[in-house]
């Protein structure tokens, strides 16, 4: 029989598979004694991370304690093995990340992942001083404009001129020299391109007092023809108007010798932070090169052709030519990986690393293993999975980094009733809520008193957040550390709920659905905590949670059907205005969506026109107080970030205003040490294994 040998083969093969299988799974059987994440070694330096730090700006935040609760119990053992062995890829820094880069065109980009790349390839006029969130240093400009040095001048009519003297002798990557014209061109292109959903409004509104360039054109067309500006179709305006629009833009950003002058019709204090490094839209590009690539040539006759381009028609979508420390090497669309190489002629001195590779690795497990094997020097680790990574030999963790984001729950004060599945019966009958449910201040206060920050921050965020103190986060100028905050107090909550809706609410109860974005576990936990406390108060109070696809959540939020929003805000530019406006101004993103009304508008408008810091402080303190008094939202948390890297990465520090990490100061060496000056100054915690 011919089969005999075959049969033997099969049996052998099967036996091999079975044995292999057992071998592979064997260790899985016994771990009835699962070793809890083995004792985590202590920080190498016995620095006192949470002891009253000596911050120049802010007094210590009392709610910072939770960041280090597990510390004291563990024996102090500062015995971390010194690094030996070869450094993998000594000249290349590999980052395992998971975000999508949207575009490489600075004037198109409006997201942090793109911003991180642009940050390294292009330069801005000025930059932040290291980790400082307040102090500027000159960059492509030779001086930081201020009233004292005369580069900012206030005219009698209230308009302001800001002058930037441009540094000479700087070359773009392709060898072209940087000129003042390039700077002006970059800003003009930003304003005239005005891609929808893009960043152009940030510069348009202080310089031209409009939100879109189309609005500007409509106003000019209306002036010329006498029509009503609202009725004009931008696509149909006359060529003369287009030229006039462009002329106005060019008036707003002018070249004057070696200087570039910005004319603002009225004072706008945060203007410097709108153009400082980390603002990708204000990065400086080379006019000559851009024109060669097919971008706008700087002429007032042609700009319309480059207005609001689709990505496929944007010539700078995947090309870069800046003055920055790194040059674009490759952007691989199949994998999403991007690599940058060192610019040896960088005017601040070449970077220490020859190449940066940012790999897009969606799967957490892979990022983790890359870090573990030394294949990644820096990895993004979701907070959810930190237990799996802590204790990895050769890895350093820096935690407690303040992030410029806030989480909050907003109350929709005028919910859309039509086709709304989230408000039950739509009436105050115990089976739903009326559309104006949250317009009652006692309801909002009741919700605030029923929320348990401590549990939320402990369980949902693993203690790595601070309770938010209002609409302005810590680290932003005019943040009031003494602003009153709510805390869990069921007695007070009961008081307010009993008073709400003339006492009817307490009798009848309410029920509504709180939608949250899929995979947003923190928001889910948040609503569950709220629900648990509300039901303790009164069994007739009920919140259901439902997770929605992003598309559905977006659609519903535009329709205004969401009773509550669990949302966060990431600042566009570093100023208190960018926080109070979206949250409290009747035209701000969130305030519009929650129909908050116009009661704060006057105060907010006054704050942004004021140049005197003490007066501004008064205004913003008042706004923070009002946010508390009126309980406009539940301000949940300001997160503290983590940074995981190999111990051989040297020179790391972080500024929360940056769109991402800064690779310029980094190097890889065996004797790398954490940057202690930075760590102690900001009260961070370093752990290494």
């Amino acid at each position: 029989m011919n089969g005999n040998s075959n049969i033997l083969l099969i049996i052998l093969a099967i036996a091999a598979v079975v044995v292999l299988g057992f071998l592979a799974l064997k260790p899985s059987a016994p771990p009835a004694t699962p070793e809890q994440p083995t004792p985590v070694e202590k920080p190498a330096k016995p620095e006192k991370p949470t002891e009253p730090q000596k911050p120049q700006e802010e007094p210590p935040a009392p709610s910072e304690q939770p960041t280090t609760p597990q510390k004291p119990e563990q024996p102090q053992q500062p015995t971390v093995q010194p690094l030996t062995g070869p450094i993998k890829n000594p000249d290349t820094l590999i980052v395992a990340d998971l975000s999508d880069i949207d575009t490489l065109d600075p004037q198109f980009a409006y997201d942090t992942a793109s911003g991180e790349i642009i940050f390294h390839v292009y330069d801005n006029l000025i930059m932040y001083d290291g980790p400082s969130t307040e102090k500027f240093l000159p960059m492509l400009a030779t001086q930081v404009p201020s009233l004292e040095n005369g580069l900012i001048t206030e005219n009698p009519d209230g308009s302001v001129v800001i002058r930037f003297p441009i540094r000479q002798g700087i070359k773009f990557h392709n060898g072209n020299a940087l000129t003042a014209e390039d700077v002006a061109y970059s800003f003009q292109r930003l304003m005239l391109m005005d891609r929808s959903g893009g960043p152009s409004w940030l510069v348009l509104s202080p310089l031209l007092n409009v939100n879109t360039i189309a609005d500007m054109a409509k106003v000019i067309e209306a002036e010329r023809t006498g029509q009503n500006a609202d009725e004009i179709d931008f696509q149909a305006v006359s060529p003369e108007t287009l030229v006039a629009t462009c002329e106005r833009v060019k008036q707003a950003v002018r070249v004057n010798g070696n200087d570039v002058e910005f004319s603002l019709p009225k004072p706008f204090p945060p203007f410097l932070s709108i153009v400082a490094q980390s603002a990708s839209w204000a990065a400086i590009i080379d006019q000559e090169w851009a024109t060669e690539q097919g971008a706008w040539d700087g002429s007032c006759d042609t700009w319309k052709a480059h207005y609001d381009p689709q990505k496929e028609n944007d010539p700078l979508y995947e090309k870069m030519n800046g003055t920055g420390p790194f040059m674009l090497e490759r952007w691989d669309h199949a994998t999403g990986d991007i690599s940058l190489v060192r610019n040896d002629n960088y005017w601040r001195g070449p970077a220490k690393l020859a190449r940066i590779v940012i790999k897009k690795v969606n799967e957490f497990s892979t990022r983790k293993l890359m870090l573990q094997n030394g294949d990644a020097d820096i990895a993004t680790i979701n907070r959810k999975f930190v237990d799996q990574v802590d204790g990895t030999p050769g890895v350093r963790l820096i935690k407690g980094q303040l992030r410029m984001t806030l989480g909050f729950v907003l109350f929709n004060q005028k919910i859309t009733k039509e086709g709304n599945p989230y408000i039950g019966s739509g009436q105050l009958d115990g089976n739903g809520i009326p559309p104006d449910f949250f317009s009652d201040i006692d309801v909002r206060k009741g919700f605030n008193y029923a929320f348990d920050w401590e549990t939320f921050i402990r369980e949902a965020i693993k203690n790595e957040a601070e309770q938010a103190k209002g609409p302005i986060p810590r680290g932003v100028q005019f943040f009031n550390p003494e602003n009153p905050v709510y805390h869990l107090d069921l007695k007070k909550a009961e008081e307010h709920f009993k008073r709400a809706w003339d006492g009817q609410l307490w009798q009848k109860g309410f029920k509504f659905t709180a939608p949250y974005l899929v995979d947003d576990q923190a928001s889910k936990t948040l609503f569950e905590i709220l629900k648990r406390n509300l039901q303790k108060l009164n069994p007739k109070f009920d919140i259901e949670t439902v997770n929605l696809e992003w598309s559905a959540l977006l659609g519903q939020s535009v329709k205004g059907t969401l009773p509550v929003y669990s949302a966060g805000w990431l600042e566009d530019y570093h100023d208190a205005h960018n926080w109070v406006f979206p949250l409290m101004h009747s035209q701000g993103t969130y305030a519009t969506a929650t129909n908050m009304g116009t009661q704060y508008d006057a105060l907010i408008d006054r704050g942004i026109k004021e140049l005197d810091p003490t007066k501004r402080q008064e205004i913003y303190y008042e706004l923070q107080r009002l946010a508390y008094e009126d309980a406009i939202a539940i301000f949940t948390d300001q997160p503290l970030g983590r940074h995981y890297q190999q111990r051989w990465v040297d020179g790391y520090y972080f500024n929360p205003i940056w769109p991402g990490r800064n690779f310029y100061p980094l190097s890889k060496r065996l004797d790398a040490k954490p940057n202690m000056e930075y760590v102690t100054q900001l009260g961070l915690v370093v752990e290494e294994w």
């Binding site: 030999p393 569950e528 696809e549």
Partner: protein, 339 residues
């Protein structure tokens, strides 16, 4: 006419009808019994049957094996401190993200976000049966109607219907259901709808073949010659004779349907915390590499759900393999899987 109104005649008519019905049921049961007997002769299909009976018992007894926290929403996996078999979940809600190993409080451990694995497996079995049966019955119904009409009328009706069927079949099944479920918004009901929308054409084509086969038979010709209407011919004569193999075949698809559906929930198209095996495996994805000290630290997050779904599908396939042998060669390769 009058005579028919007398009680005796009515009684006779009723008796006749009941007799017919009983006959039909008996015939079906006999066929089923014959198949079953054949199946029990083979050890493999016996194992398959036993597995399925086991799962069916679990599914039926789910409320006893794992009493739900809220009877109104039994499929929501509890995240409580204590979830023991035969007891309602107790203790406070826990929002711990890291899985915890099997213990007295959680016999099979908890997965990500403190969802109890034991509870999820028990209710997952019920969910799998529910899902499989609903999808099979609905797709089959549509498939039978379309297939029968197409085959019986032939010519342009057939041509148009079969073109439509072809369009649906060209759509890659997984991609199609993925898109449709995403559009409808995640949820089990949405997955069911997507599976029905893209599942019927396969059956329609198969039923059409069977009907064409039966249509050739002389008794159908005879019925038509005797002046019976279209519907009557289709439903009285053609379908009953074509339907048995179709039914058997379709019911065996439950295994592969559950498999494909769990692929969707693996990709995250089901509400979080819904007792579905695929979702549990999706959760385990982030934990398979364990901790630095013990790479198999979180083994229970994948092993238990993986076993549950594999054995379930195995049961159906063991059975299906044997049944297809009995019905061979007509049933050969009627459906192939897409994941």
């Amino acid at each position: 006419m009058n005579a028919a109104r007398t009680p005796a005649a009515l009684w006779a008519a009723l008796q006749w009808t009941i007799q017919r019905l009983l006959d039909a049921v008996m015939a079906f049961m006999r066929a089923l019994w014959d198949t079953l007997k054949q199946l029990l002769r083979n050890p493999l299909s016996t194992i398959g049957l036993l597995l399925l009976v086991f799962y069916a018992l679990i599914a039926l007894l789910a409320p006893v094996l794992a009493p739900p926290e809220r009877p109104a929403a039994p499929y929501q996996i509890p995240q409580r401190e204590i979830v023991r078999p035969f007891q309602a979940p107790q203790g406070k809600d826990v929002f711990e993200t890291t899985p915890t190993p099997p213990s007295a409080h959680h016999v099979l451990g908890t997965t990500q976000d403190h969802y109890d694995i034991y509870y999820a497996l028990i209710w997952g079995a019920r969910n799998a049966f529910k899902l499989g049966i609903i999808i099979v019955l609905s797709t089959l119904l549509i498939g039978i109607v379309v297939g029968a009409i197409s085959a019986y009328f032939g010519s342009w009706v057939d041509e148009i219907l079969m073109r439509i069927v072809e369009i649906f079949l060209v759509f890659p099944f997984l991609l199609a259901t993925l898109v449709l479920t995403t559009i409808l918004g995640r949820g089990l009901d949405k997955i069911v709808i997507a599976f029905i929308v893209f599942g019927w054409p396969g059956y329609a084509r198969f039923v059409r073949g069977e009907v064409l086969h039966v249509k050739e038979n002389t008794y159908v010709e005879a019925a038509r010659a005797a002046g019976a209407g279209h519907l009557r011919v289709i439903f009285r004569h053609v379908l009953p004779n074509a339907i048995y193999p179709v039914l058997v075949l379709a019911s065996l698809d439950i295994g592969s349907i559950v498999l494909s559906a769990s692929a969707l929930s693996f990709l995250g198209l089901i509400p979080e915390g819904f007792a579905d095996w695929g979702q549990l495996i999706g959760f385990s994805r982030n934990w398979i590499l364990g901790t630095v000290q013990n790479p198999l630290e979180y083994w229970y997050t994948i092993v238990y759900p993986g076993l549950a779904i594999s054995l379930f599908v195995l049961g159906w396939n063991l059975l299906g393999d044997a049944v297809r042998d009995i019905f061979d060669p007509r049933l050969r390769g009627a459906r192939s899987r897409s994941s």
